[in-house]
């Protein structure tokens, strides 16, 4: 049984969290032709923008309703409308994803109503642009909640409900008759709702695996198209990849939904309610057993056995587990992360024989925390983390853990968001057979690089006993 200790301090020291609207913005960035719009003061956007740019090393479209003092006192609907119209005029996005902030939520206006009014009054001007609202005050939740809320809002507001989905199947049938050569409807579609903690590489790899079963994955959000570090050949004011609006509308035409991470349960449930597509939730896709379950599921959906390539990946992971376990056994690990990532990494390390001596989570609301293989979880910040990680062999958290790592003299494995002082964080694999294999190698290499060389003094048992006495 895990003991979950709530935060009791008044001063947070070295925050672990990135705020909720950032999570929502990241999710919106996984939709094609999107611009996230923060409803708050210009600083809210500026901070988030700088953070995202530092992490992804990309231009990131992110805008603000630029609430000033007057609008803060009198209310923000005019600013909201002006921002939406300006974005439409300048960039003609397919989606404007509105993320509210602490500033506007403290006023607690009826944003949904305001947006409905704007859509109605500006119907013609805004044609071709979806406007989606996520209520994401900074004073609640963190990345995970923000991401999940945005995905839920996208499904709620864009995906067609059951009847429409059936109609679209009919459309597919008509197409099949009129274009018999193409046969587009042949491949079964699978909806995949990845959590925020999956990297670009993870999503690409997931897609390949699903496709290798002859299935067509519809991934929402899909940052692998928009934040994968490519060089587009012209200036783009919006995201230039990601899930298309059409695919989101047609989510009801998938045969199965797969959520990755406990925080994706709500959007998956909503999709089921809306379209009848059943869902399966994977709390983690890292580790042999989890991936086995995933492969079995794909096999079952497709009616096809796992291809030889996947067998080979599995065998490589088995070998990595054999080669790697020496380095993990008995190691003390300290992790600070969002709940689902905490679970993902804690189970990974414990699965190789290591021990979690300190676990810090951003928020206490997630049910996954109960399953984290640690004695206790502190809801808190990197100050708490540093206080409890002194005996660890390895620290696992994002780049802000670098100060703690320096002070404690303990190596740091950088995972999550933000990672601003290392390149390629989005191209790091962390899921499925290959991602688990790579993680084993990465961590084992850190352990090996920091091994203490033996000396007569350190091994002299009598001397040690004397010193202790």
């Amino acid at each position: 049984m895990v003991h979950i200790h709530p935060q009791t301090k008044s001063a947070a020291v070295n925050p672990l969290k990135s705020s909720q609207p950032v999570g929502a913005a990241l999710a919106f960035l996984g939709v094609e032709g999107a611009i996230p719009l923060f409803h708050g003061s210009q600083g809210c956007t500026s901070f988030a923008l700088v953070l995202c740019v530092r992490h992804f090393k990309e231009t990131v479209p992110l805008q603000t309703t630029a609430m000033d003092e007057l609008a803060t006192v009198l209310g923000g609907p005019d600013h909201l409308e002006e921002a939406i119209l300006n974005l439409k005029k300048r960039a003609d996005p397919r989606l404007i994803g509105i993320c509210t902030t602490a500033l506007t939520e403290t006023r607690s206006e009826d944003f949904a109503r305001q947006i409905a009014d704007i859509k109605m009054l500006r119907n013609e001007e805004l044609a071709g642009t979806e406007i989606v609202l996520a209520n994401t005050p900074d004073f609640d939740g963190a990345l995970e909640e923000g991401w999940a809320k945005a995905v839920t809002a996208v499904i709620q507001q864009i995906t067609r409900g059951g009847q429409q989905a059936r109609r679209s199947k009919k459309a597919t049938m008509i197409e099949r008759i009129t274009n018999p050569g193409e046969r587009p409807g042949k491949r079964k579609k699978v909806a995949i709702l990845p959590g925020w903690h999956l990297t670009v590489a993870d999503i690409e790899h997931l897609r390949e695996m699903v496709e290798s079963f002859g299935l067509k994955p519809v991934i929402l959000p899909d940052v692998s198209g928009s934040l994968d570090g490519t060089v587009p050949d012209r200036w783009m004011p919006t995201t230039y990849g990601g899930t298309s609006i059409a695919d989101i509308q047609e989510l009801g035409a998938t045969v199965q939904c797969i959520g990755v991470g406990e925080h994706m349960r709500r959007p998956a449930e909503l999709l089921e309610k809306l379209t009848g597509v059943p869902y399966v939730l994977f709390q983690s896709l890292t580790g042999l057993k989890n991936v086995d379950r995933f492969v079995s599921l794909l096999s079952e959906i497709s009616g096809v056995p796992a291809p030889a390539k996947i067998h080979r990946c599995r065998a490589q992971l088995q070998d990595a587990l054999l080669d790697g376990h020496f380095h993990f056994a008995g190691k003390k690990i300290a992790i600070a992360a969002e709940p689902d990532q905490l679970y993902q990494f804690a189970t990974f390390f414990v699965g190789l024989g290591a021990e979690i001596i300190s676990a810090v989570a951003t928020t206490g609301a997630s049910e996954i925390l109960e399953k984290v293989p640690a004695e206790a979880i502190q809801i808190g910040d990197l100050g708490d983390f540093e206080d409890r990680a002194g005996d660890a062999d390895l620290l696992v958290t994002h780049s802000h853990g670098r100060q703690a790592a320096e002070r404690l003299g303990i190596p740091l494995l950088r995972v999550g968001f933000p990672v601003f002082d290392r390149l390629g964080s989005q191209h790091k694999l962390t899921v499925l057979y290959r991602g688990t294999r790579d993680l084993i190698f990465e961590a084992a290499n850190i352990f090996q690089a920091n091994q203490r060389t033996p000396s007569p003094e350190t091994l002299d048992a009598l001397r040690k006993r004397r010193n202790a006495g």
């Binding site: 001063a11 925050p15 700088v50 003092e69 500033l103 004073f139 802000h400």
Partner: protein, 497 residues
């Protein structure tokens, strides 16, 4: 204590600001921040500006009274360097939850937070930053700070610059006001001398002030306080006893310089350590002001000798780069550095300036740039990312010098780029700094990757592909001739100091 509104009005009425003086009284009252346009705005808020200015003070605990976003999304992101205490890099925030906001617990939480920090970190002072939410719910941070200061016998300084009151620049100025109201003049130094100066608006990015300090040391000039770069609380508290001041980033702290002159008769001048001539001029003006205020006149000769020596060395080092950089075209896109001085040094070694931003330049600087550039169209206030992308992908410049905000616009256009703003990793101040800057420009332009990344894949090189290319170009050109007015609006914010 005047209200925040009065403070803001006061910050806008800046007699030492040339641009402000040239306005009529009505325009002056409106202030200098441009209106923000929803959906087309870039740049930070007033809180951001205030924190940027104060955070490099190294032995102070900076406590942000806010929900998580304000501090959690922005901490540890600037490259100021400290020669001692590292407390400034530790992030403190009250991380207000919904419950705190709704139940009105926030003032109590702030008070307790100050106590926790005092007990665990023993800082020289605590700076408490107000933000949008805490201002909106009516937290009286000045009262809480006053009480905490009495109770914990520790300076607790309220910084009242919530984000929504305006731009980053306004926040810079409000930070200066906080220092004037609560810090400067609270400690009397025991060792005041006629050779004491203050440097205002120097951030010691990448430790670059340490390139300049030895020059001052050699002249026997002591930096009483460098605000804020590598500053200690006590330095600033006793900075009112300096005899002269140099204002480095004028748009950020001009109010501070002027008010210190009014209150404590510390004369100041605006100068820069970027560029060779600028560095020499700065040293000369410092010496002159000190002499006018009681220092021995012999320092003037010593200064001239030092300048002559250092300039000769620097120009000789720079000359080595001439063969490699002559004729290369530079686009300077940053308000943070005094572009005149840079323009001068780069042109001196034969580089061509195809454009420079003058957003933060003085009228005088603009005049000088105009004269050397011949074509005044090469001066701009700011430039839209789309337009910038077009310029760079057409290879109208061989390199862009700018800040991180436009980094990826340049890189996506496959254009060499060098960071000259706050996140940069190299020190550029003083004589050696200028040589370092030119060296970095050389390294950037001549990196072998450029020829590789611009090359099409072999299978892409066919007549069909060539035909398609011009159409993409037309698209870019059409985009770049958008009406000037809209271009201004979505221009990025390059206002970094």
């Amino acid at each position: 204590m005047p209200s925040l509104d009065v403070k803001i009005q006061d910050a806008f009425d800046e007699p030492a600001c040339e641009r402000n003086r040239s306005k009529d009284p009505k325009a002056r009252k409106k202030g200098c921040s441009k209106p923000v346009i929803p959906g087309a705005t870039a740049g930070g808020c007033a809180f951001d500006g205030a924190k940027v200015v104060l955070q490099p003070i190294t032995d102070v605990a900076h406590l942000v009274h806010a929900p998580l976003g304000c501090e959690g999304n922005s901490w540890d992101n600037r490259g100021a360097a400290s020669s001692g205490p590292m407390l400034w890099r530790t992030s403190f925030t009250t991380d207000l939850t919904e419950l705190d906001v709704v139940m009105g617990h926030s003032e109590r939480k702030l008070f307790k937070a100050v106590r926790e920090i005092k007990e665990a970190y023993a800082p020289a002072a605590v700076f408490v930053y107000a933000t949008c939410v805490t201002a909106m719910i009516g937290d009286d941070i000045e009262a809480v700070c006053k009480r905490a200061a009495e109770k914990f016998t520790l300076p607790v300084v309220p910084v009242n610059a919530p984000g929504f009151v305006g731009s980053k620049n306004l926040g810079n100025k409000l930070a200066g006001e906080a220092l004037l109201d609560h810090v400067i003049g609270t400690v009397e130094p025991a060792d005041a001398s006629p050779y004491d100066i203050n440097i205002l608006g120097e951030f010691n990015l990448s430790g670059e002030f340490w390139l300049v300090r030895p020059l001052l040391d050699r002249l026997g000039i002591r930096v009483r306080a460098c605000i804020p770069g590598d500053a200690r609380y006590r330095d600033i508290a006793s900075s009112h006893r300096a005899r002269a001041a140099m204002l480095v980033c004028s748009t950020a702290l001009i109010n501070l310089a002027r008010k210190m002159e009014e209150r404590w008769q510390i004369p100041f001048f605006e100068g820069s350590f970027y560029g060779i001539t600028a560095t020499s001029e700065a040293l000369r003006r410092i010496a002159e002001l000190l002499v006018r205020n009681g220092a021995d006149a012999e320092i003037l000769d010593r200064t001239d000798t030092l300048i002559a020596e250092e300039e000769a060395i620097a120009w000789k080092k720079l000359e080595a780069y001439r063969p490699r950089l002559e004729g290369k075209r530079v686009l300077i896109n940053s308000g943070g550095v005094k572009s005149w001085s840079l323009v001068h040094a780069l042109m001196e070694i034969g580089m061509e300036i195809v454009g420079t931003s003058v957003k933060k330049s003085t009228v005088e600087d603009k005049e000088r740039i105009k004269q050397v550039l011949k074509d005044e169209h090469h001066m701009f206030e700011s430039i839209a990312p789309r337009e910038l992308y077009a310029m760079l992908s057409e290879h109208e410049a061989d390199i862009m010098l700018s800040g991180g905000r436009t980094q990826f616009t340049a890189l996506k256009a496959k254009s060499p780029w060098l960071d000259i703003n706050q996140e940069r990793h190299h020190p550029y101040a003083g004589y050696d700094g200028m040589v370092e800057l030119v060296r970095q420009i050389d390294l950037a332009i001549h990196n072998p990757v450029w020829s590789e990344v611009r090359e099409l894949a072999p299978w892409e090189f066919n007549p069909a592909a060539e035909e398609q290319l011009p159409s993409t170009h037309t698209q870019i050109e059409t985009a770049s001739v958008a009406p000037l007015k809209t271009r201004r609006h979505d221009a990025g914010d390059f206002a970094e100091c």
